[in-house]
Symmetry: C2
Subunit: 337 residues, 2 copies
């Protein structure tokens, strides 16, 4: 008799505040496409958490739900392996959030390194909304509601996973027969893709991103504007390859490694023009993006079909998260029926 091993669960997700770019792809999406072969994967579209920043621009949130779905499906998220679901339609997550709020003190949140860093960057006018203060608890609810054993995150998010672990530890000490699993972070590729302006991070707000949904023309223009070595004012001046956005992108997206090697050598010795380097990068990136773009476009105007996919995924997620909630309430000994 063979023993069937139930696959461990992985939870990932995004706030629906815009389309996804190549930074998201390298930092997260690429990894998700791999993980879905090994794990039972859930992708949570976190519209409730998006409200923290976008409560006064909800039209962006609702539009972005479908933009995200197109991005997921375009890069190879496979609906036979991955469940895509919507946070606001999963009431069990909100109930768990409210229950976990007794497991965490205000001071614990305020000394969390990720929260501190984000508070600095966000510069709330006076005082952060409670939605922001409580978002790490909401994430602990997301993760544990799905019984996710693994959570792929960037290094900057490790303290948030640590907080989720603390919530689970405290809960499991307090209540016997708790169903909660301590989640473990999976760190993605450490490399971060710089913006086309050379800034360390590709981001929508910095307006320096290349999107999965960019047209060929947009891609061409963005690569044309891309920063290179600022000291190299002529094609015959030897240039720096390390830290140079154009070569970071070649490394990441040009599958012709010989070509990349040749370009680097010629660049460092002043034997290639920026134009040639960029044209070759455009060709390589267009090769990479064309099938994604094509697949993505096939969903244009298919919002009804996308909604059906989302409803089906959320229904499955609803059952799983409600099961967790029921076990949680049972272990707490609350009155229920």
């Amino acid at each position: 008799m063979e023993k069937i091993k139930i696959k461990d669960r992985v939870l990932t997700g995004d706030r629906p505040t815009g389309r996804l770019h190549l930074g998201h792809y390298l930092g997260s999406l690429k990894n998700r496409v791999k993980l879905q072969d090994e794990y039972q994967t859930f992708v949570l579209i976190a519209d409730i958490q998006a409200l923290t920043d976008y409560y006064d621009r909800t039209e962006i949130i609702s539009k972005s739900v479908f933009e995200l779905m197109k991005d997921y499906l375009a890069v190879g998220i496979d609906l036979n392996k991955t469940t895509i679901c919507l946070q606001s339609m999963l009431p069990a997550i909100h109930e768990l959030t409210v229950l976990y709020m007794n497991m965490v003190t205000l001071a614990q949140i305020q000394r969390n390194p990720t929260v501190k860093e984000e508070l600095k960057n966000k510069a709330f006018k006076q005082s952060p909304p409670l939605g922001f203060v409580c978002y790490p608890v909401s994430q602990a609810a997301d993760i544990t509601a799905f019984g996710a054993r693994f959570v792929p995150v960037g290094e900057d998010q490790l303290p948030i996973i640590e907080l989720a672990r603390e919530v689970v530890k405290r809960f499991n000490r307090l209540y016997k027969n708790s169903p909660l699993i301590e989640p473990t972070a999976i760190l993605g590729e450490a490399k971060r893709l710089p913006g086309i302006d050379g800034q360390a991070k590709m981001s929508k707000s910095l307006n320096n991103a290349i999107y999965l949904s960019d047209s060929q023309q947009e891609l061409k223009e963005k690569i044309k504007k891309m920063y290179t070595d600022p000291n190299r004012i002529h094609a015959n001046v030897p240039g720096k390859v390390s830290g140079n956005p154009v070569f970071i992108y070649h490394n990441a997206f040009n599958s012709d490694k010989a070509e990349v090697k040749d370009l680097k050598t010629r660049y460092q010795t002043g034997k290639v023009s920026d134009t040639e380097v960029k044209e070759k990068l455009f060709k390589a990136m267009d090769n990479f993006l064309a099938p994604i773009r094509e697949k993505r476009q096939s969903y244009d105007g298919q919002e009804k079909e996308l909604l059906e996919i989302l409803i089906a995924g959320t229904k499955k997620a609803d059952e799983i998260t409600k099961q967790t909630l029921n076990s949680v309430k049972e272990s707490m000994g609350l009155v229920r029926w």
Copy 2:
């Protein structure tokens, strides 16, 4: 053609952390029994809010749910007029809580007079749990989920209602077609019943309370121990009536006003023993409490019946609160189905 006026709704409730005492009766229950004739009344058993203090003693919470129900029914809460429901089984309230958390800043909570006062009294070891920090938002969710126009509260709770009004105002400014109603506080009788030890407040934690569920014997013993005028060491010493617990109780519970007047006169002139004053108080209070006690006892061992009442009330409340949530989400423009 006559126009049928839909009754305004009133929301009241208690945290299930113990049985109710005469302080609760005078401060709140008595008023509820009156209000249910004029308004569509909901009584919310706030077990989720009870977790803020009792998360490590949940057996007290689940037991107290039924103790509260017995107290309600014993004093005259009429199931034909009032709906009794359980907070933890109303998911729409938790979702509204999470949504409203973006309408309130941490500073707004921290400068709320009620929160400040409670923080002082509770003396959390280091830092308050987020469950405490967010409880005013949770109360705003309770009130608005039911579309309650009126909320009977004590004066100390006015700033919490004010916060709920601020949440509603902010929400209604942000989102068109919001269904939310600004609630109005109804102040109960200002008089507060002192403890039997003469302390300003009757409370479980001070161990100075007379419960609706006390037996005749317990009542007798508590009245025997009740503080009077400490300067009156003999029956023939003139005593003070004002501020004297025994006479505050006579005023509140002895319906024979002539007897009370006579006792006061004789007390002030040193012509009555403490024993007589207390014996008459016992008789009066026993007259008041006997039918309550009897009705309450009729529910002993009827937990199954009580549970059925609670399930039916919560089902009704579930429908109303879910309607509110749906309208709230629709006005926000979130993706839903």
